[in-house]
Symmetry: C2
Subunit: 658 residues, 2 copies
């Protein structure tokens, strides 16, 4: 520590992920809100800026922060393009502003004296040599005015405390004894779809139009118009690689597969190849390219599933036994969750003697599909691969392919889920699937969006997956399906569904479990999506609302609103003038009604405003006033309102328009 | 980033102050609880230790942490002596424990096989060369048993999963791929009084037994038996330095002092000297030494007030004009809080051209009094001196005088208050003075003790000071004084009072203000502490309870308990078997009653326990059962219970004794 005239302290800069160990996440073209606590002794006025630049740029840009409350400052900058950025915060004592503030106070109290004016003179004259000629001339005029003893004191004070003077001098301030935050922080700005996406999962092998026929990637193309009409923009396929034969699982996850059982797509590797190959029955690489392009033609993107595990038949097993753990009898250790055994799956051993070989090969699997123009990956069980590997792999890939998106299927404990997000996953599956009650949903999304978690973790909410058919979907019927759809699609900007099963409300479970009976993971199904009870129209409507409303395309503004009924959940999202208020009846059986107590500020309204709420989902328009308004929802008619909130024009607005 | 077999991640180590920028605080001889989040992929069993050592020591010591919930681990170490310590956390995959756990699960499910046993063999044999002979022999026996095919499998499994095996192998574990937290953290272990102290403030000049006579430091000695009888251990004097004459303030802070007005002790500096000198009317350095020793003889310590500011008469003003800010007319800038002016006070300018000179001289003031054996300082308005100065000054002083205690009089915004604590102040004044209602008190002390603040900020609660006579003391009468005394003395381990005024419940305020009328800061008073209405006995009782109960000598275990009456505040503190439960009636006028809903776990009790609460304060013993118990307090009899909680002996206990 050395002697210093620096008096300012910069603390608690946000966003800052894991104390600056990892980059924060943002979307290119959207503002990054920066906050910092700025402390100084005594009572001086401070000046604070955020400095930011693209990682490779030389010059820093800067934006001012403004004082909020309690020593907290706020401001924002907009990363213009996808890529990496650096940012930090600088603060200093603003002596000129301090003088202006004190002079104003004294003048207001009638105790200003000429000497109080003179205190500012050297502060201004010191800046003159730094000013361009027109600014210098104007400053000299103001200086002359505030020193002119012929003028009445109030006129001189007005010149001294003018905003014009503050504005002219701001950029000239030498920023004596400025203090920069002791870290340069990192930011990854990603493309729009990283922050706003709608996923539809289907099994290609179930897409043939012929009965009892293995579907192909070409067959999937015939389903694309349907998926596009539903409004989805990401088509996600379970692993498309050769499926192993040794210890292949049969229907309903039985240990002995029958001769016609197709096996689980997650049992990767056979004599036909491994993670860089395509299951022969699905087609060829040309078929995949055709599917990729056909998606693109419809405004969609194809997402592949990367599951780092091997069947005993995978070529890696013979070529790289050192990547697996061995048992005392020389056999390879299969996956276990004692007492359960998964003899068809060999996990990689991240304590291998050859981490470089293993890591490089695993990364090359992504590289292989990136080279095929695939940019979205759903990553299976990332929490069973080492955390350092993910940082190494995703940091590198996201630099070389900044438009790549990685969805983490980390159904694990919260801190591990978050750690994976910090280490580079773009989005993550969440506990949404099991959050059903009002207090659970409120607490969970407050944790996700109202804490530092929002700076690195992007939730992707799924009401169902091939692995999960929850209790409530098993028993709740159509009202529950619609409710979960609306919740997933409006609580979070990213959401997805195991599509055909959800559309058709396929709800048969293995007794006593949250798993599908006759699970598509182990057999080929045939989905007749044109059935009259299908949810297709409801899904398409929800996706249209999402696409039309920027409020639903981001997460940070989510706010919960009180309703005096524990079965009614109310929340809003806003983006500028776009304001969406959702009310959901969590009870799938009975009509529920209650009075709201709206957080008017969160809606961008005054406490006493009159406003209109227009139900984009169930139709109808209501005229509301202030925080307390009546809501009632019959789940059999519509389990939810998705209101667009419009402020009534006031007389003043009309005058403004006239 | 490089390829690694390390799989463990160490996160969120606590205590960690401002991301490791400042040391955490502890008391020598008391445990420091260390927490960390430890993450690893997959499902292995982990091992975690805290490493710690005295700063100057070479060798690290270690203590195991144990898994709490949700990847959080806990443990503690005890810094044996006052001084600085380093600590950090290390974790690794415990392969032997993983094998034991999995084997246990399989054996429980009846699916263990000989090969499952064999997996552990190399894990153990690898350790044999590291073991001392007796351990090695025992391990070889266990190895033989678990491999002995002649034995029944359950017997072999028992040998394999035995705790003995776990214990024997723990210290031999080579800790392959262990990961150390990426920071070494710092800890300051201080003496007991840093964490548990009772302060009594008096003005020496008001201690003469003669009317209209300026009291002296020798007169203070005559008051010591009284203060000691009250149970205080720190006697704190306002500044004892020469008081300025220029612009001296008169009685009640008037601008013109009369010829007999003594001035404010905080207006430091005259022709008689400055911060290293003693006001002539108070006595000499010998008198101070006598007072210091007389305190010590009574188990008390003398605390001085360090106020870094000068009157126009202070020798520094002439000798070091560069330490002050100058106005355009050449005069020195006095203190201002526009439109208020304090012409008798010149603040130091921490943007001086000579920071080294100023800082070194200010530090030398502490050094001067430290050399006189003073070890406790109350520091006036530290938030008007630069933060970097405090770090530099206090870090250095606390290394050279590790028994020094610095109390920060930082009545300022919370983040500045905390920043001063982080930068080295031992204790701090708090907002207790203005926290009166139940929800305010609960929220405030939760922030202080149930967040990271507890690791660096030690609150010292004052119901009154010479500057503050709150509304509630002005109007609440004796019940309010007793209430505030009990709250201050039992909510926080450190507390203090502006003694004579509190004892005598002197409550006359300047109308419309929270300031004393005829404030002792500007005049000499005569306190007749032997008046019948004095609170002396109550104060002495509270201090005796504090000294008898370790639970009240620390802050971390403070827990609030529900009472179904907003006027009744209930909280407990525990230390081992010592359990104190305080219930305070916050209403100074009326009897209040209600049912408790005790947090039984916080009291170290089972939900259904029968227990005895013995009121150490108002007397009486009650037999309680479970969380719900009736309490009633008449403020005119006693505004508070201070219960000692004693669990009833159960039959099992009796049997144990028999």
């Amino acid at each position: 520590m050395s002697f210093t005239r620096e008096r300012v302290v910069v603390r608690t800069v946000r966003p800052e992920v894991a104390q600056g160990r990892f980059p924060a996440k943002a979307i290119a073209g959207h503002p990054v809100e920066v906050r910092a606590d700025i402390l100084c002794d005594s009572h001086d006025v401070l000046a604070v800026v955020v400095h930011w630049k693209a990682e490779a740029a030389q010059a820093w840009q800067e934006t001012r922060l403004t004082l909020d409350v309690n020593d907290a400052w706020r401001g924002s900058f907009v990363p213009p393009a996808v890529g990496r950025y650096h940012y930090t915060v600088t603060a200093w004592v603003d002596h000129l502003a301090t003088w202006q503030r004190d002079l104003t106070k004294k003048a207001d109290a009638g105790v200003a004296t000429p000497i109080d004016l003179r205190i500012g003179v050297p502060l201004i004259t010191d800046l003159l040599p730094r000013a361009a000629t027109p600014v210098r001339r104007r400053l000299e005029q103001l200086l002359a005015a505030l020193q002119d003893e012929a003028l009445p004191l109030p006129i001189r004070v007005d010149a001294a405390v003018s905003e014009e003077l503050a504005d002219l001098t701001w950029s000239l301030d030498p920023r004596a004894n400025q203090v920069r935050y002791d870290r340069i922080l990192e930011l990854v700005a990603e493309r729009e779809r990283a922050g706003f996406s709608s996923w539809y999962e289907l099994f290609p092998r179930s897409t043939s139009s012929e009965p009892d026929t293995h579907g192909t990637l070409r067959d999937v193309i015939t389903r694309l118009d349907h998926v596009a009409a539903l409004g989805f923009d990401v088509l996600y396929l379970p692993p498309i690689h050769p499926i192993g034969e040794t210890h292949r699982k049969g229907r309903n996850n039985t240990i002995e597969a029958g001769p016609d059982d197709p096996g689980s797509p997650w049992a990767i590797g056979s004599r036909h190849g491994g993670h860089k190959d395509i299951h022969p029955e699905l087609g060829t690489i040309e078929d995949l390219r055709a599917l990729r392009d056909a998606c693109r033609d419809r405004g969609m993107e194809l997402a592949l599933d990367i599951a780092f595990q091997c069947t005993p038949d995978h070529p890696y097993v013979a070529e790289h036994p050192e990547w697996f753990r061995h048992r005392p009898d020389g056999s390879i250790q299969y996956a276990e969750n004692p007492p359960k055994r998964y003899q068809d799956i060999y996990p990689f051993d991240f304590e291998t003697s050859d981490p470089e070989g293993l890591w490089t090969e695993l990364r090359s699997i992504f590289e292989h599909w990136l080279a095929e123009g695939i940019r979205i990956f759903r990553v299976d069980n990332p929490h069973t691969k080492s955390f350092p590997f993910w940082r190494w792999c995703l940091d590198d890939l996201s630099r070389r392919y900044p438009d790549a998106i990685f969805l983490s299927e980390a159904f694990t404990r919260p801190k591990r889920m978050y750690e994976l997000a910090m280490r580079g996953f773009t989005q993550s599956y969440t506990y949404f699937t099991w959050r059903r009650h009002k207090h659970e949903l409120e607490a969970y999304y407050r944790e996700l969006f109202h804490t530092d978690v929002v700076d690195f973790f992007r939730p992707n909410s799924w009401p169902n997956t091939p692995d999960i058919l929850t209790d409530q979907l098993q028993s709740g019927g159509r009202p529950m399906y619609v409710q979960r759809l609306v919740l997933a699609a409006t609580l979070t900007a990213n959401y997805g569904m195991y599509g055909p099963a959800f559309e058709l409300m396929w709800s048969a479970a293995r007794p006593g479990s949250e798993e599908y009976l006759d699970n598509e993971k182990y057999e080929i199904k045939r989905w007749d999506v044109d059935q009259p009870h299908s949810l297709a129209e409801v899904i398409a409507l929800v996706n249209r609302i999402r696409h039309a409303h920027p409020a639903l395309q981001q997460d940070r503004t989510l706010a919960f609103h009180e309703v005096h009924n524990d079965q009614l959940l109310a929340y809003s999202k806003t983006a500028g003038d776009d304001r969406i208020l959702v009310v959901v009846n969590l009870d799938p059986q009975y009509v529920q009604a209650g009075m709201t107590w709206l957080d008017m500020q969160a809606l961008g309204l005054e406490e006493d405003d009159h406003f209109e709420v227009h139900d984009l989902f169930a139709g109808g328009t209501y005229h509301w006033h202030g925080p307390a308004n009546y809501v009632q929802l019959d789940p059999h008619i519509s389990p939810a309102h998705i209101f667009e909130v419009r402020r009534h024009r006031t007389e003043a607005d009309h005058e403004g328009l006239a």
